[in-house]
């Protein structure tokens, strides 16, 4: 039967909350088309997560808790989704734009010869056809695309669509299925996993505090024996000035390419053309001039605040609020003012 399928992303028993946004979009389209909405949940805690999926809008949930799917691997996950897509011939398959969602839906779309559109920020249904909007050329222009195949695959951007209100009275039919591949057929083995504790994911963040080259102008002096005083000053600035502000706001820490390339902070914090593209409610750019490469990654922020010593920095043109000043004075003052106001 024709339907909408949403792959609910579960990593070691933790659901990626953007999956609820995918279910929100999926339930809107399923209602419009008058078809059921099926959620797929694999791996640890799948049966428990299935109840949440129902509360967020799924009519049916397919779970698989086979041992081969306990820890995420592309092959067994893709094989099972491909089988379910072939069995059900859905109109639409939805997923989220993490490393998992991107590789998984692309693989299954290739297997089933279906049209795939990623980084989707808007969807308009024209009858059976979906016209989607996505960024191209690093977010410098937009493109509109639609699938010409019977099943369309969409990978949505985080924070682009609203989840349904959680309805605790809602239940779904839950069906357990087996895996498609046996362990012996799978060519990849997970040797180890090292989690990064307390990492705030930039893509999901509601607030981001970013710093650029200006973070190196730290008045603090490095201890004796430090190899590179500038790098020490910048790293110390991220730890003692940027992180405390992020902590008060519950924000993620971002950085410009200049700061990453200079070794001030690790690459996974980079916002911009060769880093992450983000769309938080609030983006605070401190000591970032606002090069076009950086703008490409953060221009979709709902509100931008710029803090820079140079009143002519291009970042001020994009900012709703601007403060001209030394970030080493402004950020700690901001942290204090927020603590006072927010009662922390």
């Amino acid at each position: 039967m024709s339907r909408v399928i949403v792959f609910v992303e579960n990593f070691d028993g933790q659901v990626n909350p953007t999956s609820w946004e995918a279910l929100g979009l999926g339930s809107t389209l399923a209602k419009q088309w008058g078809v059921p909405l099926t959620a797929l949940v694999f791996g640890k805690n799948a049966t428990a997560i299935a109840e949440d999926a129902a509360q967020y809008g799924a009519d049916h949930v397919v779970v698989c808790e086979d041992a081969t799917l306990a820890t995420y691997r592309l092959e067994p996950y893709a094989a099972l989704i491909a089988k379910l897509v072939k069995d059900h011939a859905p109109k639409l398959v939805l997923g989220v734009g993490t490393s998992m969602g991107r590789e998984l839906l692309a693989t299954v779309a290739a297997e089933t010869e279906s049209g795939l559109m990623t980084e989707v920020s808007d969807v308009v249904a024209e009858g059976d056809k979906l016209v989607i909007t996505r960024p191209a050329y690093s977010g410098k222009v937009l493109m509109k695309v639609s699938a010409t195949t019977a099943t369309a695959f969409l990978v949505i951007r985080a924070r682009a669509f609203k989840p349904n209100e959680k309805d605790t009275s809602r239940k779904a039919d839950v069906a357990a299925v087996g895996a498609v591949l046996a362990e012996g057929d799978i060519t990849t083995k997970v040797e180890s996993f090292t989690p990064e504790a307390n990492k705030v994911n930039l893509s999901d963040a509601g607030i981001i505090v970013s710093a650029g080259r200006g973070i190196a102008n730290n008045p603090a002096n490095p201890p004796a024996g430090v190899a590179d005083a500038t790098v020490w000053k910048a790293q110390n600035g991220f730890e003692t000035i940027v992180q405390p502000l992020a902590d008060v706001l519950g924000a993620a820490v971002g950085a410009s390419r200049a700061a990453v390339d200079a070794g001030y902070i690790s690459y996974d914090h980079q916002v911009g053309q060769t880093g992450k593209s983000v769309n938080p409610d609030l983006y605070i750019a401190a000591g970032i001039s606002g090069a076009i490469q950086h703008q490409a990654g953060m221009r979709n922020s709902k509100m931008i605040v710029a803090i820079n010593k140079d009143g002519d920095a291009p970042i001020f043109k994009m900012a709703r609020y601007g403060v001209v000043g030394d970030l080493y004075e402004i950020l700690p003052a901001l942290t204090e003012a927020l603590k006072k106001k927010l009662g922390k």
Partner: protein, 260 residues
């Protein structure tokens, strides 16, 4: 081991990219460069070919524009370059693109590893990477931050992979397709000898007929490009006698706007 990597020419990262009156994407007089993510995959292909005593071939699927990035690749030290192009390929359709790419790898015959850069900045996606692996029927390892070991005798590869929540170490069987992250290596600059070699290189072009493959029907249809909606931001500068005063005023504004 024979290692293949893919590249393409994309507008310079500092270029202003716009949609012109005809609805085409234009970057004015700005130069094209090697897709920034491919700097890392090209370097990794050179390094791994050397480590395994093999060779490295670079392929571009696309129009003549992409010869520039192939020449840059040869100048960096890639052993051979091939361009795949045919009026029948719609390069914006990832299924057609990956079918042609996979067929080109098959035509080379003895390839053990395909290395991609994490994504292409022009089309803004990485889907063609995973789909090429699927079309080849090879193991796919995405977001690789380190190749820990290639064991040719046992046909295995061990890598470190970046996930949102941490790092995974995986082993997989070869042949495989991997995509590599920024920071996996320090890409080299082309050498003088390399640039001379590149300037003389004749790059063969393989058509769909040469690849002996049937392309799938188009799976997507481009409805058009548009410029970003103009953002009408009225910037309000926050003044004050001290950092504390500026900070307090800013917090008031943020609370009023309900963004906290």
């Amino acid at each position: 081991m024979h290692i293949v990597t893919f590249t393409r020419s994309t507008p310079d990262t500092t270029a202003k990219v716009e949609v012109n009156g005809k609805g085409e994407v234009s970057w004015g007089d700005a130069a094209t460069v090697v897709n920034p993510w491919d700097e890392y995959s090209l370097e990794e292909a050179i390094v791994q070919a050397k480590n395994t005593g093999g060779k490295a071939t670079v392929i571009a699927v696309g129009a003549e524009l992409h010869n520039e990035s192939l020449k840059h690749s040869i100048a960096m030290g890639l052993d051979a370059a091939v361009r795949v192009w045919d009026a029948g390929i719609d390069a914006t359709d990832s299924l057609q693109w990956s079918t042609a790419a996979a067929a080109a790898v098959q035509k080379l015959g003895d390839v053990g590893l395909v290395i991609f850069g994490k994504e292409s900045v022009d089309v803004g996606t990485d889907q063609h990477i995973y789909q090429t692996a699927r079309k080849l029927g090879w193991t796919m390892l995405g977001y690789v931050s380190k190749i820990l070991e290639i064991d040719e005798a046992n046909k295995t590869i061990k890598v470190e992979k970046m996930l949102e929540g941490g790092k995974q170490v995986l082993t997989a069987t070869l042949p495989a397709v991997i995509s590599v992250m920024k920071g996996i290596n320090e890409p080299r600059y082309p050498s003088f000898i390399g640039i001379r070699k590149a300037s003389k290189a004749e790059i063969p072009v393989w058509s769909v007929a040469d690849l002996n493959v049937v392309l799938p029907a188009k799976s997507t249809e481009l409805a058009g490009y548009s410029n970003l909606p103009a953002q009408e931001v009225i910037t309000e500068m926050i003044d004050g006698a001290s950092a504390q005063e500026k900070a307090e005023k800013l917090v008031e504004k943020l609370l009023e706007a309900k963004v906290l």
